[in-house]
């Protein structure tokens, strides 16, 4: 009973001050960690110890993300792509975090982080196939990547459970759960993060806070001033970082990762902005001012990093036009490969549901196959039905 001498841990000291016993929302929005200013200037001592080659790699990935967004949106407009969610404006947060992960780490994406998936090893072809609605694109286990959580928040408890398994296995790996600023409003998020805090799950909660969940601004989403502070309620740390500063994101995640790997879930909130629409189905002019978009456009992350590379003297060693052209070529190849991807048989819908096909499913498949044989005009109907 000796541990009770000072009372149970959750008791705390007594105080006569009500103010002292009030845990307050911070008066001002907490600061965000920054290494490179909006104009590209920086303090030499702050720059993380990474070589010029890696700096150029960071740049390449961000350019690739820009090219992917630009071309995916165009493909969608031409009817060659499904609904697509552009990352434009968030390149630094997406790439900076992914770049700080280790080989054995797992990515649990939510849909607006293509470059992060590519850094994990997903072929660009598969990114195109995913947005074309082909389930085969979700075969990314070899690349330590889970399918995107399109249902907001649903991947949080799952990723936490997966990370819990990593700890039980004594693996030196973490699960990086990417999510937007709307996810923390869900029960899944709150239940999942709290659960992770109790089972010491090595889970990184990485939130590129782009200010909007479709049309709902962050102020409409929560009264809290930040996502990072939400961790306090579950006894875990939160870090705010400038999401348009790729080096700051990289550095913050690199540091957080060590803490996470020790079994401490941690929230990293990267403050950023979505410059494009929520998806190709969205019209952002209905809910936000152009002046706001312009303000952020002036602070977009790829240009900032270019200024940094110029001031750093690395810019002279690279040919930015060639990097962009190379990214476009990569996209061309991926597009050709996606176009060449053979349509699967209808049995594909049935065969992956269970390890063993139950008799009723087998019956439904057989019936459907005989129907298609008897009524080949169904294929014509499917092909010509107005889409989208």
């Amino acid at each position: 009973m000796s541990q009770l001498d000072e009372g149970p841990a959750y008791l705390g000291a007594a105080s006569e001050s009500l103010a002292e016993c009030t845990i307050s929302e911070p008066e001002r929005t907490p600061p965000r960690y920054q290494i490179v200013d909006a104009d590209g200037s920086y303090d030499e001592s702050q720059v993380p110890a990474i070589g010029d080659e890696e700096l150029i790699d960071l740049y390449r990935w961000m350019v690739l993300q820009q090219v992917v967004d630009d071309r995916m949106v165009k493909l969608q407009r031409r009817g060659e792509m499904g609904t697509y969610a552009s990352v434009r404006g968030q390149e630094a947060s997406v790439v900076g975090c992914a770049f700080a992960l280790e080989d054995d780490d797992w990515l649990f994406p939510y849909g607006r982080e293509g470059a992060a998936e590519l850094i994990q090893g997903m072929p660009l072809r598969d990114l195109l196939l995913y947005w074309r609605g082909v389930e085969d694109a979700n075969k990314q286990a070899a690349n330590n990547t889970f399918p995107p959580a399109i249902a907001i928040g649903t991947h949080i408890p799952v990723g936490v459970g997966f990370a819990w398994g990593m700890r039980l296995d004594d693996d030196d790996a973490i699960a990086a759960l990417y999510h937007g600023d709307g996810h923390p409003s869900t029960g899944e998020y709150q239940a999942g993060v709290n659960f992770g805090s109790v089972v010491d799950a090595p889970a990184l909660l990485f939130c590129p806070n782009n200010g909007y969940s479709i049309s709902a601004s962050f102020e409409q989403q929560t009264r809290a001033k930040s996502v990072a502070q939400k961790g306090i309620a579950w006894g875990i740390d939160g870090i705010r970082v400038d999401g348009n500063d790729v080096l700051a994101v990289y550095d913050a995640v690199k540091t957080a990762r060590e803490h996470v790997a020790d079994g401490n879930p941690t929230i990293v909130e990267a403050v950023t902005y979505r410059l494009d629409a929520h998806t190709t189905n969205d019209d952002p002019s209905r809910y936000r001012d152009q002046a706001e978009v312009d303000w952020w456009e002036d602070r977009e992350p790829v240009g900032r990093f270019e200024s940094f590379l110029q001031q750093r003297g690395v810019w002279d060693d690279i040919d930015p036009a060639a990097i962009r052209e190379e990214a476009n070529e990569q996209f061309d190849e991926a597009k050709a490969a996606a176009d060449a991807f053979e349509k699967r048989d209808v049995s594909e819908m049935f065969e992956y549901l269970y390890d063993d096909l139950p008799p009723e499913l087998e019956r439904q498949l057989k019936d459907f196959e005989s129907f298609l044989e008897a009524r080949p005009d169904a294929y014509d109907y499917i092909e010509h039905r107005p889409k989208g």
């Binding site: 979700n138 408890p157 459970g161 819990w164 398994g165 899944e188 390890d355």
Partner: protein
């Protein structure tokens, strides 16, 4: 051994945990206290706090983390303390557990078990007595089993734990301690998706599962004596996947069918069985198929629960209606 249904749950968990050190048992109050029904009693002492643990009160994260653990190669057997609290976890069952294999084309799987005591009749609090099995059976990729005997409970739970895909095991808590029966020692499995014919008969097929089985059998016995009829009673044991063939073969033979369940009538699993019978045995029917079910009202609290639950007299009357019913135009 001679065991109650809840002792059979405990025995199955012991066998599974001894057999495979990737089996992890967790949920609310399952470790230190051994579960509110003592289904997990003694497991923590035997297998330690990493494999048997108490969790925060969150059905969402209990179900969701099981998906993640299972993807990682573990065999989580998570308890939802009462099935009335599965609805918060429904999103995880629908959006995650049931479709991991399908989404990833078999690369990642969720071999996990959620067990939950279900049904009324134990004078529990509000929200503690629901039977929503039809809602769970409607989710493609989620298997649902509902045992009614101690031996089947052990056999189905062990099959569920070894199954490569997620299984929801609904345990009839009304039967947890209502009787003892022989349970095979050690290894014992019952295949998921196989119904059991409890009594063979010629005149009518009566189908039920889980909590209503003993009352259904009792009603059938009474009627056989009273009316000189022979009644075939089928215990479905699994409602997803459904053993269509056993049901259809029986109805083709008897020409009459009645279905008994505790859940509300509209959209209940009996409706699925009626449709199945229509698809596969309509022309053998000599009378409309009967349903003896709970009413389309929320499960009442304890003062009224016995009026809600189907009981032997109601089941007898329902069966008589079908026996006396006539088909044709």
């Amino acid at each position: 051994m001679n065991a109650t249904l809840v002792e059979a749950v405990n025995d199955a968990l012991r066998v599974a945990m001894a057999d495979d050190d990737h089996v992890v048992v967790y949920g609310e109050d399952v470790a230190q206290q051994g579960g509110v029904f003592r289904a997990t009693e003694g497991l923590k002492d035997e297998y330690g706090g990493e494999r048997v643990l108490d969790t925060p009160i969150t059905e969402i994260a209990i179900a969701g983390s099981a998906v993640g653990l299972a993807m990682r190669g573990y065999r989580p057997v998570a308890e939802i303390q009462f099935s009335g609290f599965i609805p918060p976890a429904f999103n995880q069952l629908v959006s995650m557990a049931s479709r991991i294999r399908w989404r990833t084309r078999g690369e990642l799987t969720a071999p996990m078990v959620i067990r939950a005591p279900y049904g009324g009749g134990v004078r529990a609090l509000e929200h503690h007595s629901e039977s929503l099995e039809a809602a769970y059976a409607h989710i493609p990729g989620l298997q649902v089993v509902v045992p009614s005997t101690p031996a089947d409970t052990k056999g189905l739970l062990l099959s569920a734990i070894r199954d490569p895909d997620p299984v929801l095991v609904l345990e009839p808590k009304r039967l947890y301690r209502s009787f003892r029966d022989e349970v095979p020692e050690g290894e014992h499995t019952v295949p998921i998706g196989e119904a059991a014919v409890r009594t063979e008969g010629e005149d009518i097929t009566v189908i039920s599962w889980g909590a209503t089985m003993p009352d259904t059998l009792a009603a059938a016995e009474t009627l056989e004596e009273e009316r000189d009829v022979s009644i075939e009673v089928i215990d479905l044991r699994s409602i997803s996947p459904l053993d269509r063939e056993t049901v259809l073969e029986s109805v083709r033979k008897t020409g009459r069918a009645a279905i008994v369940h505790e859940a509300a009538k509209t959209g209940g699993f009996a409706a699925e069985l009626v449709a199945t019978i229509n698809e596969g045995a309509l022309m053998h029917l000599e009378a409309p198929v009967g349903r003896i079910t709970g009413f389309d009202v929320p499960m009442p609290m304890l003062a009224m629960e016995d009026f809600y639950l189907p009981n032997p007299p109601r089941i007898e009357e329902g069966i008589k209606d079908v026996l006396d019913g006539e088909g044709g135009v």
